[in-house]
């Protein structure tokens, strides 16, 4: 027991353990995000999605991974073999490296760097090389165009997303991921309430950075076949995919930490206890949520057409009950353990919601054209982000120098920023256009 409290354990063993867990779990997680994506897509498109491999397609990710692993690995004759080999590895490696600084709860974090946020940004800006070098090394025009598009797009939207982050940072006053969440705890409010425009900018920027629709131009299927991945197949291709989905989780985690309160539960300053215990009322929310999910699954069980599906539905319900039990048991565990488990639950729930928004956008919007993408980035988002930073700074001055309550101060500046946004949007639509483009009807 003494060993568990030793500094060696805390500085060396635990981070390595956490890192190992992340590296081991992430491919599986990415596979299941793909499954969820396909199921959500199917639901929005009035169909069922994967149903064959395992009940309700639950084993589909494993089948896919297996198939990709045993597929023939093709390297084009005139490809640059070294870079062709290195690019996907770089893509996935950089995405995984960024996880080092992400706090999946107050306990589960590999390393709390004092430049944690900047570290994540830096590492994810390296991920671009996986795309650019892979596109170049394939020696194909489609890949090259995808790579060029990607380089230009990522550099542009990184700027916008970075400025969106800054607006929340001025409220947080620190670059350490833990300190940012702590700042939100101290103020008793998530920063999305202070800088809604900043959150919007980061949302758009992060979609563009992860090459998701409607900004999926580097891999635009109908134009560039698969963009930078055109010449890739089998496991290398799977690595790119893994990198993309890992990156999605990273940007979602950053957004969660910065704007959505990290691992904090809703109403974090509401501390009423159950009478006679030290358990807070709201801490049973996760338990209730899981129980609700279990009840829903049980209600669906009799309606399943095949017996095996009934059994699986019941099994899923059982799993939910078990998780509810874990959440409940955590309430009686030592505070550290309890905070770790519940923090991880809330964090992952918020990350999931953010990723769901990604999926939702993907199935709703058509794709931007390249010049429109650039115009949106440089003529709308970046000016708006700059104004937003000024707005956030003004709100801080209002609240700290003039004694205004932070929330109304932030509301005033946000409203002003929104006004600028409307002006920018209408200006962008009316701006003189050089090519065949008359963007947008009414606003």
């Amino acid at each position: 027991m003494n060993y568990l409290n030793s500094p060696f354990f805390h500085t060396y063993v635990l981070p390595v353990l956490y890192g190992a867990i992340i590296v081991a779990v992430l491919p599986l997680l990415a596979g299941y995000i793909v499954l969820v994506e396909r199921k959500v897509m199917a639901d929005m498109q009035a169909r069922l999605g994967p149903m064959r491999v395992g009940p309700h397609g639950l084993l589909q990710p494993i089948a896919d991974a297996l198939k990709l692993l045993i597929k023939e690995d093709i390297i084009p004759e005139k490809a640059d073999r070294f870079l062709f080999w290195m690019a996907p590895v770089l893509s996935v490696g950089m995405a995984l490296l960024a996880y080092a600084a992400i706090p999946f709860g107050p306990v589960f974090q590999v390393a709390d760097l004092n430049v944690g946020l900047l570290f994540i940004l830096a590492i994810s800006s390296l991920g671009i090389y996986g795309i650019v070098l892979g596109g170049w090394a394939s020696n194909s025009h489609y890949s090259l165009l995808g790579a060029l598009r990607s380089a230009a797009q990522l550099v542009s939207y990184e700027t916008a997303a970075g400025l969106g982050i800054v607006s929340a940072l001025v409220w947080a006053g620190s670059l350490s991921m833990k300190a940012i969440v702590q700042a939100q705890y101290d103020r008793g409010i998530w920063f999305i309430a202070y800088v809604p425009v900043g959150f919007f900018i980061y949302l758009v920027g992060s979609i563009a950075e992860t090459n998701r629709a409607p900004f999926d131009l580097p891999e635009a299927e109908s134009e560039l076949v698969a963009g930078y991945m055109t010449e890739y197949s089998g496991f290398r291709w799977a690595l790119y995919f893994l990198g993309e989905y890992a990156n999605m989780v990273v940007v979602a985690a950053v957004a969660t930490t910065l704007f959505l309160g990290g691992w904090l539960r809703p109403f974090v300053r509401y501390h009423d206890h159950f009478p006679g215990t030290s358990i807070e009322l709201l801490d049973i929310l996760p338990t209730l949520l899981f129980l609700g999910a279990a009840a829903y699954c049980l209600r669906l069980t009799p309606r399943q057409p095949v017996k095996i599906q009934k059994m699986v539905m019941a099994a899923v319900a059982g799993l939910c009950v078990i998780l509810a039990g874990v959440m409940l048991a955590a309430l009686f565990a030592p505070p550290g353990v309890m905070a770790g488990i519940h923090g991880a639950f809330w964090f992952l729930a918020k990350v999931g919601a953010y990723i769901y928004a990604f999926l939702w956008f993907r199935f709703t919007f058509p794709r931007y054209r390249f010049d429109q993408l650039m115009r949106l980035g440089w003529r709308f988002l970046i000016p708006l982000a700059l104004i937003n930073v000024i707005g956030a700074a003004t709100a801080i001055v209002l609240s700290e120098q003039w004694g205004l309550h932070p929330l109304p101060a932030a509301l005033i500046t946000s409203a002003a920023t929104l006004g600028v946004a409307v002006w920018l949007a209408s200006d962008g639509a009316k701006a003189p256009t050089t090519t065949a483009e008359t963007a947008g009807g009414g606003d």
């Binding site: 870079l83 760097l113 940004l121 060029l148």
Partner: protein
């Protein structure tokens, strides 16, 4: 111990990739090796407890400037020049001169080694980012503004020069 090992690892990486960069025939490979060298340098910054500079090095140098380089390399599609002679005619003289320059500076170090009384590293502030920020926006405010004007000028210049049809 760990500290020294880190330094020697990054230093070796930086030197090897710098040599590879100068000698590679394929220009994209050269760029990749330069990126490796820059990353190794970033590692050395980290080892010197300059966390903020470590991040700046990666974001700006590796994530920004080098992307620009690779972008341009791709634009000026250089399959043809791959088979040309990569070094110019003065290469031997130039190489020798450069080595002489290096040896000269080394000599200067050697001569002045006694006067460099820095000894062990002094304690740095733990909050590196804050310290850099304070210094940048108070003591070095004017240079900071000048630098931003320099960047603006460079940006305009680059746009004007790279523009397709003037």
């Amino acid at each position: 111990m760990l500290n020294a090992a880190l330094f020697y690892f990054f230093a070796a990486l930086a030197v090897v990739s710098a040599i590879a960069m100068v000698t590679r025939r394929n220009i994209v490979h050269a760029a990749v090796f330069l990126i490796t060298a820059l990353l190794a340098t970033a590692g050395i910054f980290l080892q010197l407890q300059a966390q903020f500079l470590f991040v700046v090095q990666i974001i700006l140098y590796v994530g920004g400037i080098m992307v620009l380089f690779i972008f341009v390399i791709m634009l000026v599609n250089l399959d043809v020049s791959l088979h040309l002679v990569q070094f110019n005619r003065q290469r031997f003289v130039a190489g020798v001169l450069a080595v002489i320059l290096g040896v000269q500076v080394l000599g200067a170090f050697w001569v002045g080694r006694g006067s460099l009384k820095l000894g062990a590293a002094r304690a740095m502030e733990p909050k590196n980012t804050e310290a850099v920020g304070q210094a940048l926006f108070q003591q070095y405010m004017l240079p900071f503004e000048i630098a931003s004007i320099l960047l603006l000028v460079a940006m305009i210049g680059a746009v004007v020069m790279a523009k397709r049809r003037v």
